[in-house]
């Protein structure tokens, strides 16, 4: 097997932060290399250097024996390195074929060679098991199909190295299997694949070799055949991790109920029924963009039912708004903590009082009580272990985990009876994930009803007492803990549940 890609001593510093510290590894033809690391470990920076978006302070990238000129986007593409980003770079209103051809030929001869391109696309589709309709508009495709188009785009450009950045985040378990099949076909034909992930199970399933990054440095390199999940996790986090104990649930009364509720918007909820009980965690599994946002918005007060009935502690919602939701004792952990959960330019004090700034003790007769606000922030910082220079720090300077801890403190401090946790651990490192899980379990033990919306099936299955799948705004029936397999859940997530499963 010939070496196709080599990174040698890559170092990149952003101000005081060492994002990449002397990282070296090599990739051979016909091999899948996993780049494993928590968020912020330096995976993305490394790939940006490879692609010439950043210039390394030191180190070289060599593709097939030829060093790449640094800081030239396009050089890597030229040399046969293709990348599939987490966020796709497709033109939605063009067809699949147009998207694949885009940028591969001169601007004014787009029509020329269409037939040849179509034939080549069909050939690649067949060879790698990537079925798509070349004439479909990209905007009409599902997320999984779009990812296939991205991969085809790279293959069409004769990529010899394929880099997949967190490719499974948007897929159902079945789609993940299909992706892995494609990866295996690709390496069987001599391609090399870099698989970037922080999910241990997937890395073990698909990679031949694993390079583990932690805090910008390469801490280990192992053959996946010679290691196990436990050792990978330890190397990635740098410490032994213990999953939280989940004691049996003590279900209480129903605190929030949806009865065939639909909401406006696409995808809105469609005749969704759900009951959140005190002392339980209810999980919602689904591929992103299937109505999770509508469900979260409904509980947050941003959306109202257009059909069906929603009940809060046995009564109707009345005039429903975010402030009413807060007032009704719903703790809301939003999906996007940067854009929705916090005001980036405000300090921790301001962010800590966002929901009750208008009530005593935060404000009296229209005047802010700055001392009370500061005290509150200090309490949250101390009790929820928010690592920060102090309450006057702008929240944008905090890491995702610390920002999430502040939000947890803000909403949990009052002892809420209902908790909405939308993607509460997305983008957090393992330490922060464990922390969030413990807090949710503590709230459950206290008798709160928790709605946990997540794309991480491991998390959902570990924490949820009851689980629903969501697909295109429709909720599956409720499954009790252990009542459903991952495979069945995957079918419900794809909208095929209840037909050939369950």
């Amino acid at each position: 097997m010939a070496e196709i890609l080599r990174l040698d001593g890559i170092t990149k510093r952003f101000g005081p932060v060492l994002a990449n510290d002397d990282i070296s590894f090599a990739l051979n033809e016909g091999e899948v290399l996993a780049l494993l690391g928590e968020n912020g470990a330096g995976k993305t920076t490394l790939m940006n250097i490879l692609f010439g978006h950043y210039m390394a302070d030191a180190g070289t990238v060599t593709v097939a024996g030829t060093p790449l000129p640094p800081g030239q986007p396009g050089a890597a593409l030229e040399a046969g390195v293709g990348m599939v980003h987490q966020h796709f770079t497709l033109a939605g209103n063009l067809s699949v074929l147009d998207n694949v051809m885009l940028g591969t030929r001169p601007l004014f001869s787009l029509r020329a060679g269409r037939r040849a391109a179509r034939a080549r696309l069909a050939e690649l589709s067949g060879r790698f098991g990537l079925a798509v309709d070349p004439d479909a508009r990209v905007a009409d495709l599902s997320v999984g199909e779009r990812q296939r188009v991205e991969i085809l785009k790279a293959l069409y450009r004769d990529a010899r190295v394929l880099i997949l950045d967190e490719p499974t985040a948007v897929l159902t378990p079945q789609e993940v299997e299909a992706l892995f099949a494609t990866i295996r076909k690709a390496v069987a034909q001599g391609l090399a694949v870099v698989f970037i992930s922080h999910k241990l199970g997937e890395v073990m399933a698909v990679a031949d070799r694993v390079v583990i990054l932690r805090r910008g440095a390469k801490v280990a390199e192992m053959r996946s055949a010679e290691t196990d999940r436990h050792r990978l996790a330890e190397a990635m986090v740098g410490a032994e991790i213990t999953p939280p104990d989940v004691p049996p649930a003590v279900p209480g009364e129903v605190l929030f109920r949806l009865d065939r509720v639909s909401t406006a918007g696409t995808p809105g909820l469609r005749a969704a029924s759900l009951a959140l009980r005190a002392g339980t965690i209810t999980g919602i599994a689904g591929v992103s963009g299937n109505g999770q946002r509508a469900l979260a918005d409904l509980l947050s007060g941003l959306e109202v039912p257009v059909e069906g009935r929603a009940e809060l502690m046995g009564a109707g919602l009345g005039i429903w708004s975010p402030r009413r939701a807060v007032g009704a004792g719903i703790a809301r952990i939003p999906e996007d903590r940067h854009a929705t959960g916090a005001i980036a330019d405000f300090d921790l004090t301001g962010n800590a009082m966002l929901e009750d700034y208008h009530r005593p003790p935060m404000s009296r007769r229209g005047w802010l009580d700055r001392r009370a606000a500061r005290r509150r922030a200090e309490e949250i910082i101390a009790r929820y272990d928010v690592r920060c220079p102090g309450p006057a720090t702008p929240i944008r300077l905090l890491s995702g985990g610390n920002m999430q801890k502040l939000i947890l403190g803000r909403v949990l401090e009052a002892g809420p009876r209902i908790i909405l946790a939308a993607q509460p651990t997305r983008g957090l490192d393992i330490g922060a994930v464990t922390y969030v899980h413990r807090q949710l379990l503590a709230a459950r033990a206290r008798g709160a009803a928790v709605l946990l919306i997540s794309e991480d099936l491991d998390e959902l299955r570990a924490l949820s007492d009851v689980i629903h799948a969501i697909h295109d705004g429709e909720l599956s029936p409720a499954f009790a803990r252990g009542e459903i397999t991952v495979k069945e859940l995957g079918l419900w997530m794809a909208g095929q549940g209840g037909r050939d499963a369950a």
Binding site: F14, G15, G52, H53, Y54, M55, P70, G71, Q72, P73, S300, G301, L302, S321, P322, R323, A325, V326, R332, P334, A339, T340, G341, A342, I343, A344, D345, F346, G350, L354, E355, Y357, H358, S363, G366, W367, L368, R370, R396, L397
Partner: protein, 348 residues
């Protein structure tokens, strides 16, 4: 080339760059003066001299700064909440109209008439901005377009009023309103000083706006809505109501510029009472980084440039348009400096 965010910019970066922007502005001014055939150092010296070199010059600068403080505050308040009020000019004129109407028609006794004029102006200016704001919150109409275009509508309305219903019968046919009676004129701040109480009111307003933004619940809401409307809405803030309150305050402040010019300076209303104070208010507010106390400083700076350039052009024969270019370049440099104080340019 790309911009890369700097997480915690240092003090040198935050203060040094704006200082560099100021220096660059001075260089541009010197270059322009040289092109216009003057001696750059002389021209700059004469601008400074003309703006602050004598008691008369300083008073002139303070008087010129007064309406700019009001319009600057109006813009600063609105922009802080991301309500893009480009219509301070219209609000100023409507405030001036209300001032004249109350001052000449109300027949209120002496001590009441001035507060009534000011109140009427504030209401008129606030209502002027209320319409575009409701269109924005209800229908999503872009307030930049509506407030900007309404400036022309209001200017034409004022032209009509001055030729018609509000025309001064004693005005020898000039399009101007009747003059305010003596008890409706703003008194001077000190005997013998050509500086009226409009300036004092402007300073009080600046302090008031600072207090509002930094210390009150409404101010917290206004800043939150401006910094991240989505998060503000999620947290439960009544975003639309906050925008409406912001509009009333902003429009009212701009209208006070009209009140102060009519009741403090001119004594009557003409169609040229504002040489673009509403628009210059945007420059003033931006130079002040939307800080209400900074608005006072930047209004003095801007007024000084205008007054100084006028005086300089009389002596040096360099056109006073240099003031406009100076302000424009000061604003451009300042905007660039602000961007660069939070981002660095990265090659590649």
């Amino acid at each position: 080339m790309r911009l890369e965010a700097i997480e915690a910019p240092g003090l040198a970066r935050r203060l040094g760059l704006p200082a560099a922007a100021l220096a660059a502005t001075v260089l541009v001014a010197a270059g322009l003066a040289a092109i216009a055939g003057g001696n750059p150092l002389d021209v700059l010296g004469q601008i400074v001299q003309g703006a602050a070199g004598s008691k008369f010059a300083r008073l002139e600068t303070l008087n010129r700064a007064t309406p700019l403080i009001f319009t600057g505050l109006a813009v600063a308040v609105a922009f802080r909440a991301r309500l893009w009020n480009i219509g301070a000019e219209a609000q100023l004129y409507l405030g001036a109209v209300a001032t004249v109407v109350i001052g000449t028609q109300s027949g209120l006794p002496g001590p009441l008439v001035i507060p009534a004029m000011a109140a009427a102006a504030v209401v008129a200016g606030g209502l002027m901005l209320l319409g575009p704001t409701l269109l924005k919150t209800r229908l999503g109409v872009d307030e930049v377009v509506t407030t900007l275009l309404l400036n022309f509508v209001v200017l034409l309305l004022v032209g009509y009023l001055l030729e018609g219903p509000m025309k001064d019968p004693m005005g020898m046919g000039w399009p101007k309103s009747p003059s305010l009676p003596a008890e409706a004129r703003l008194p001077r701040m000190a005997e013998g000083l050509r500086l009226h109480w409009g300036f004092g009111l402007a300073l009080i307003c600046a302090a008031g706006v600072w207090l509002l933004q930094a210390r009150t619940t409404l101010g917290f809401e206004m800043r939150a809505v401006g910094a991240n409307a989505r998060a503000a809405r999620f947290a439960g803030m009544p975003v639309n109501a906050v925008l409406v309150k912001t509009a009333l305050i902003s429009g009212g402040l701009a209208a006070l510029a009209g009140f102060s010019e009519v009741a403090g300076m001119k004594g009557n209303l003409t169609a040229d009472i504002s040489p673009g104070y509403g628009y210059t208010g945007i420059v003033v507010a931006m130079l002040a980084l939307l800080n209400p106390l900074g608005v006072v400083v930047s209004a003095l700076f801007v007024a000084g440039i205008f007054v100084g350039a006028d005086s300089m052009s009389r002596q040096a024969g360099v056109p006073s348009y240099i003031a406009d270019i100076l302000l424009a370049s000061a604003l451009l440099f300042m905007v660039a400096a602000l961007k660069l104080s939070r981002f660095r340019i990265v090659r590649g």
